[in-house]
């Protein structure tokens, strides 16, 4: 577990990964993120499901908790980084977390003899691993293309690349939407399966699991939402808007080979997203082999829908949804063409009527920087987790000195691994201090914790 976990990048054994992956050339990083981490997952599955024999339920719990924490922390890290490849590497950590949540669930179900549910969770994990391989490789190729074209991986230097890297921007957008778990793409399909598996877990008998699984569900949801923010930031800042540097202004399109590689992978993302039934069936032999059960065959269902358990529980038909959205959009387009104005004019974006000229007339100054975009999330979430904080110094009226801004954050894993004692002391002091200034959210968290304690006590007493 330790070995596989550190190879795959589970928190807190992740610290090497975001340093190693970006260091390699892009196609190698793609391979490292897409395939190497999966080898670790393969090893983990092999050992835990096949070799070790019947597992105890608490193994599942441990894997679940680690997976959930890894997912959220991974993507929060990604949100604070400006280097594209580091962002992608941290996002790999997040996805590994999600996969481990699936595996943990499968372990727990298996330990309790709920084989069908275990098969669903395992399938979800495998499906997600497969999807991650597709979109993460695309993204790393894209990152490589950007680095090659502009000589930088720093988001703060990019912008407007969609105008010059017209073709490679499209697979990049698809991959970004897929990894942000948006329907009808493949990332959503596997996360949907994972959520369906979580919905089956109240039937688990152990109290520990009963309490942990909903919280893990919330972590998974949080990770998915952060991932959306993270990839809006990545794509929106690198490809959209105006160039933030000379290099970004003159970036050439990437070569045909990597373009076609990206397009191929992105097409697979779309296909796996629209026809998830096919992929699920692909993984059926695995669960058959490991658990002796398989999820119902999907490919025969009408309208190519997927139904993991029964029709009355849940179903999802990405093909139909995509069709509906396309038809609606076309309908809107056609009726506007028929009844509305067809004229389209182009003028500069509304700048409040300010006429800027001279040396400061660089409109790119008024564009959001990547760190500015993430600042609200940093302030809300990372302030407690990463001790992120901003420092502003404004000189008094009449003082010509520049106003200063510094922002800093620390990785709690480094801190806890290397200075555990200081960290703990600091944390306690901080908490004690903060008790006086509780927010609604914190109060609720306390009420919630009290309730949990109460319930555990009731359960044990019984």
């Amino acid at each position: 577990m330790l070995g596989a976990g550190s190879k795959a990048g589970l928190v807190p054994l992740h610290v090497w990964l975001p340093r190693a992956h970006p260091a390699a050339p892009s196609h190698v990083s793609a391979l490292m993120s897409g395939v190497m981490t999966k080898v670790a997952i393969y090893a983990f599955i092999r050992i835990v499901f096949a070799l070790v024999g019947p597992a105890a339920w608490w193994w599942g719990l441990v894997v679940l908790v680690l997976g959930g924490i890894t997912a959220v922390l991974g993507v929060l890290y990604a949100l604070m980084e400006d280097d594209i490849k580091t962002i992608l590497a941290y996002s790999t950590i997040e996805n590994i977390g999600l996969i481990f949540v699936g595996l943990g669930l499968a372990l727990a179900f298996k330990a309790d003899g709920m084989m069908l549910a275990a098969a669903l969770a395992l399938t979800a994990a495998l499906f997600h691993a497969f999807n991650h391989m597709l979109f993460k490789s695309t993204l790393f190729f894209g990152a490589g293309a950007i680095q090659h074209a502009t000589g930088t991986r720093d988001l703060a230097q990019l912008g407007g690349l969609i105008h010059r890297m017209k073709i490679s921007a499209v697979p990049m957008l698809i991959a970004a939407m897929a990894i942000a778990a948006l329907p009808p793409l493949n990332g959503f399909a596997s996360e949907w399966l994972l959520l369906q598996a979580i919905l089956l877990s109240p039937a688990l008998p152990q109290f520990g699991l009963k309490l942990a699984v909903p919280a893990i569900g919330a972590l998974v949801a949080l990770a998915a939402a952060f991932a959306a923010a993270c990839f809006v930031r990545l794509f929106g800042i690198a490809y959209l808007g105006k160039p933030r540097s000379q290099a970004a202004e003159a970036a050439p399109e990437t070569d045909a080979a990597s373009r076609s590689a990206m397009i191929g992978l992105a097409a697979l993302c779309v296909i796996a997203g629209l026809l998830p039934g096919l992929v699920i069936d692909l993984f059926a032999p695995v669960s058959d082999n490991l658990l002796g059960v398989r999820v119902p065959t999907q490919s025969g269902l009408p309208w190519l829908t997927i139904m993991p358990v029964t029709a009355s529980r849940s179903s999802y038909d990405p093909l139909l949804i995509a069709l509906f959205v396309t038809i609606s959009a076309c309908l809107a387009f056609l009726s506007l063409r028929r009844f509305g104005s067809r004229i389209i004019r182009s003028t500069p974006a509304w700048g409040c009527g300010y006429q800027e000229f001279g040396p400061q007339a660089q409109t790119r100054l008024s564009q959001y920087t990547p760190s500015g975009f993430a600042q609200p999330i940093r302030r809300v979430f990372a302030a407690s987790v990463f001790r992120a904080h901003d420092l502003v110094t404004i000189p008094p009226p009449g003082d010509a000195a520049p106003a200063r801004f510094t922002s800093s954050w620390t990785d709690p894993a480094w801190a806890t691994l290397y200075t555990p004692l200081i960290s703990a002391l600091d944390w306690t002091a901080d908490r004690m201090n903060r008790l006086q200034f509780l927010t609604i959210r914190r109060y609720l968290a306390f009420v919630f914790a009290a309730l949990v304690v109460l319930l555990v006590w009731v359960a044990l007493w019984r």
């Binding site: 004229i343 004019r345 003028t347 500069p348 509304w350 700048g351 009527g353 300010y354 006429q355």
Partner: protein, 178 residues
């Protein structure tokens, strides 16, 4: 709070009946009409206020249009934040040199069909500032104006009358042109 809300519901509206606009009353204020053949803008006009150097008096009365007594919204008229969303550019002030470019940019940012209204003496004629070296004077000197609303500042009833007459003339171009 509860008391205020319940009272507001049951004490009835403060809004006064719309001022009557006689036929042709505003005709002499309207200088151009129907720039386009599209006449459907009628009672849905979004207004972008533009202060081109006024003393803030006209702005105060413009803001008053939104209060419960006049309630501009009931006529389908509203002030909007972005010129992109606007159909009417309502100019106040004697067009200072510093605001000339801003006026041009705002006009450029609006999509057709659009109209221009000059509100207050300064925007209509330059007012007391017509001879100022820092001002251009009447709005009509820099942009085609469709409606003039004079006054220093015009009171809300006057503005309301002119706006109602103007929107109606958009629906029935003949009446407005009379």
């Amino acid at each position: 709070m509860r008391k205020t809300l319940i009272e507001n519901l049951f004490r009835g509206k403060l809004t006064e009946p719309p001022p009557p606009v006689a036929d042709g009353e505003i005709a002499d204020l309207v200088s151009t009409l129907a720039r386009t053949t599209q006449q459907r803008l009628g009672r849905s006009l979004a207004i972008r206020a533009l202060d081109a150097g006024s003393c803030n008096g006209c702005e105060l009365e413009m803001i008053a249009l939104g209060n419960a007594y006049y309630d501009l919204e009931r006529f389908g008229l509203k002030f909007v934040a972005s010129p992109r969303h606007a159909d009417v550019l309502m100019i106040t002030g004697p067009i200072t040199i510093a605001m000339r470019e801003a006026l041009r940019l705002t006009d450029e940012a609006m999509s057709a069909p659009k109209f221009v209204i000059a509100l207050g003496d300064c925007a209509c004629t330059g007012g007391l500032f017509a001879n100022s070296p820092a001002c251009i004077g009447a709005a009509a000197q820099v942009i085609k104006v469709d409606l003039h609303i004079p006054g220093c500042p015009p009171d809300p009833i006057t503005i309301l009358k002119a706006l109602i007459g103007f929107t109606d003339s958009l629906k029935h171009p003949a009446a407005g042109r009379a």
